[in-house]
């Protein structure tokens, strides 16, 4: 590719980002969600370098403390700082959820594209496969895989990812079918462009918005599933700090220190709300038929 073309595509990407920003500004839901997501990502990055205390540092004599100046959110039954554990749980949650979405997209998007462009038996097989996976809710699939491979971050991530493939495949397929039916794709076919080139040059750029929306909505689902799995003791094993694990642990001390359960619960809820609001807002912006209906 020549330098000129590279420069052009760079400018186009810049223009697209600018357009996206102009759109986002119009939706309070997308703004709010985007802001929450940014803060969460910032916390996750920060926790890689700095937390007030070590998330695993046990401190005898400081067990089950309430919020104070030294421990803003208090401590757990080993005297570990709750804020530090909450912070360090953030990046694990994000990595695991994002990993699951990547797996789902990595398989679901090509599957949806192939199903849309090939049609016939191939399409039927792919969509029936999606239906099959769909009859196993994400959490059930994850529990099954954990039964075989044992509880770990990887198992949880892969299991949730696989269970989320159908939703990606369906969205991709229906969006791609719509693009493939347009006249400019017909024109591209007419002058002999290869199916692969059509997919790359026409279909992918046009369905990208739908994929972004789906990814954002799916992230809210995977965050929830990751937290649920670690709450059930089927995710990342202790002592590593996870939101679900902290919640499960705090449940043993509800009568002594109920706030201990509130923090991780709040963290999960805010994270889910953020991705959900972002995805919802983006969808409303992208779908003109929905605009003004809310």
């Amino acid at each position: 590719m020549s330098a000129l073309a590279a420069g052009q595509s760079h400018a186009a990407a810049g223009g697209r980002a600018h357009r996206l920003w102009r759109l986002v500004r119009r939706s309070p839901s997308a703004m709010l969600g985007g802001l929450v997501v940014l803060v969460i990502v910032a916390v996750a990055v920060l926790s890689l370098f700095w937390t007030p205390y070590g998330p695993l540092t046990v401190s005898t004599g400081h067990e089950l403390l309430g919020p104070s100046f030294h421990h803003l959110l208090g401590t757990d039954e080993y005297g570990r700082d709750l804020l530090s554990r909450l912070m360090s749980g953030t990046d694990l949650t994000l990595l695991s959820s994002a990993g699951a979405v990547l797996i789902a997209g990595g398989i679901g998007i090509p599957a949806g594209l192939i199903s849309a462009s090939k049609g016939g038996v191939t399409s039927e097989v792919i969509m029936r496969g999606a239906d099959l996976i769909y009859s196993f809710p994400a959490l059930l699939a994850a529990i099954t895989l954990v039964a075989v491979f044992g509880a770990s971050t990887t198992t949880a991530t892969v299991a949730i990812g696989i269970a989320s493939i159908p939703s990606f495949a369906r969205v991709t397929r229906s969006a791609a079918l719509a693009v493939l039916a347009t006249e400019y794709v017909l024109a591209a076919r007419a002058y002999g462009r290869s199916p692969l080139a059509i997919l790359r040059r026409h279909v992918l750029p046009n369905i990208l918005p739908f994929i972004i929306v789906q990814a954002s909505l799916l992230l809210s689902v995977t965050v929830l599933a990751v937290a649920a799995l670690s709450y059930l003791g089927l995710g990342t094993p202790p002592p590593t700090a996870t939101w679900g694990g902290m919640l499960e642990n705090a449940q043993n001390y509800l009568y002594q220190d109920p706030l201990m359960a509130v923090w991780p619960g709040l963290a999960i809820a805010i994270c889910v709300l953020g991705f959900n609001a972002l995805g919802d807002g983006l969808r409303d912006l992208l779908d003109p038929t929905l605009r003004g209906r809310e």
């Binding site: 196993f136 809710p137 529990i143 075989v148 059930l232 003791g233 509800l254 809820a269």
Partner: protein, 315 residues
């Protein structure tokens, strides 16, 4: 009608058959482990081999699969690897907890979703409607197990109105059993209700703008009458579709909620069998849940063809 039923039923059976192969394959990827797990790491290779033979795990996988299928179809679910007890009665007892929990959860969800969705649609230009819509948005973001714990903190720890966990069996007290299901079904239903409420709202908004509602008012019906006469059925079409998805959400949500409230239901059974590596039990339960999910979707499909004559039973 008959052709539609036959076609749908064939699809359902094929899906379930494929699901059973999938479940069986996944759970038997690592051959021979169950006996090792059951006997512990100190077991001699000889005793492991003996148990493997006793459990029938030395047979070819295809035979094992056929055995399992035969058991499923005749409802002889076999014996637990760990306890040696037959699985069917144990699963039956667990269902006595889980089935009412899911039904009550659905009820709570509908009791919240229908009024909230209706009011927020009818009043969508007023503050009350907007506030309700915002509340459902927040409700969606709170996972049911988080809500369950919050409810325990408020209702059980502070107010001391209800027990924090545990289950009174139906046989000892129906009232007690219902009481121990209150908090779990509310935690389960509230979130699903919030999700459903948004669909109800969209559906009702669509109906409110429909021309046939105006026709009904031109006939002399008042808005409320017209909504009852024409709105409910029309709004039900999209809502019923979503309801199927919500039901599978409720079923899987019940697994987590049972853990929160330590209820001896199917979810708890599943989790303990996972912890014990009682793979035959895991296999049975996963298949049971998948079957319920698939059948629920079939039911919804039929239901909404009954409501909407445009789709019809022939196609």
């Amino acid at each position: 009608m008959v052709r539609f039923a036959v076609r749908r039923l064939t699809t359902v059976l094929l899906t379930l058959w494929a699901a059973s192969i999938l479940v069986f394959t996944v759970l038997n990827i690592l051959p021979g482990t169950p006996a090792q797990v059951i006997l512990g790491t100190q077991a001699t290779p000889a005793s492991v081999r003996a148990l493997t033979i006793k459990l029938g795990l030395n047979e070819p996988l295809v035979l094992q699969y056929l055995h399992w299928m035969q058991g499923l179809l005749t409802l002889h679910l076999g014996n637990s690897y760990i306890s040696g007890q037959p699985i069917a009665p144990e699963l039956g007892a667990a269902l006595e907890v889980t089935a009412p929990l899911v039904v009550l959860g659905l009820l709570v969800g509908l009791l919240i979703a229908v009024p909230a969705g209706l009011v927020s649609a009818v009043h969508h230009r007023k503050a009350s409607g907007a506030a309700l819509a915002a509340a459902t948005q927040v409700g969606i973001a709170i996972p049911n197990f988080v809500l369950g714990i919050l409810l325990i903190i408020v209702v059980a720890v502070y107010l001391k109105w209800l027990p924090a966990s545990g289950f009174t069996p139906w046989s000892s007290s129906v009232g007690g059993a219902l009481q121990s299901l209150i908090l779990p079904s509310v935690s389960l239903g509230l979130v699903e209700g919030a999700i459903l409420a948004r669909y109800v709202r969209t559906a009702v908004l669509g109906v409110l703008r429909a021309d046939y509602l105006r026709t009904a008012r031109a006939k002399g019906m008042r808005t409320g009458q017209a909504l009852v006469r024409h709105g409910i059925r029309n709004a039900a079409v999209p809502v019923v579709t979503v309801l199927g998805l919500e039901l599978s959400g409720l079923i899987i949500g019940a697994v987590v909620i049972e853990a929160v409230f330590t209820l001896p239901g199917v979810g708890s059974l599943l989790l303990s069998s996972v912890a014990n590596r009682d793979l035959i039990l895991v296999q049975d339960i996963v298949m049971l849940v998948a079957t319920v999910v698939v059948l629920t979707n079939l039911l919804v499909d039929i239901l909404y063809r009954v409501i909407d004559p445009r789709i019809g039973l022939r196609s």
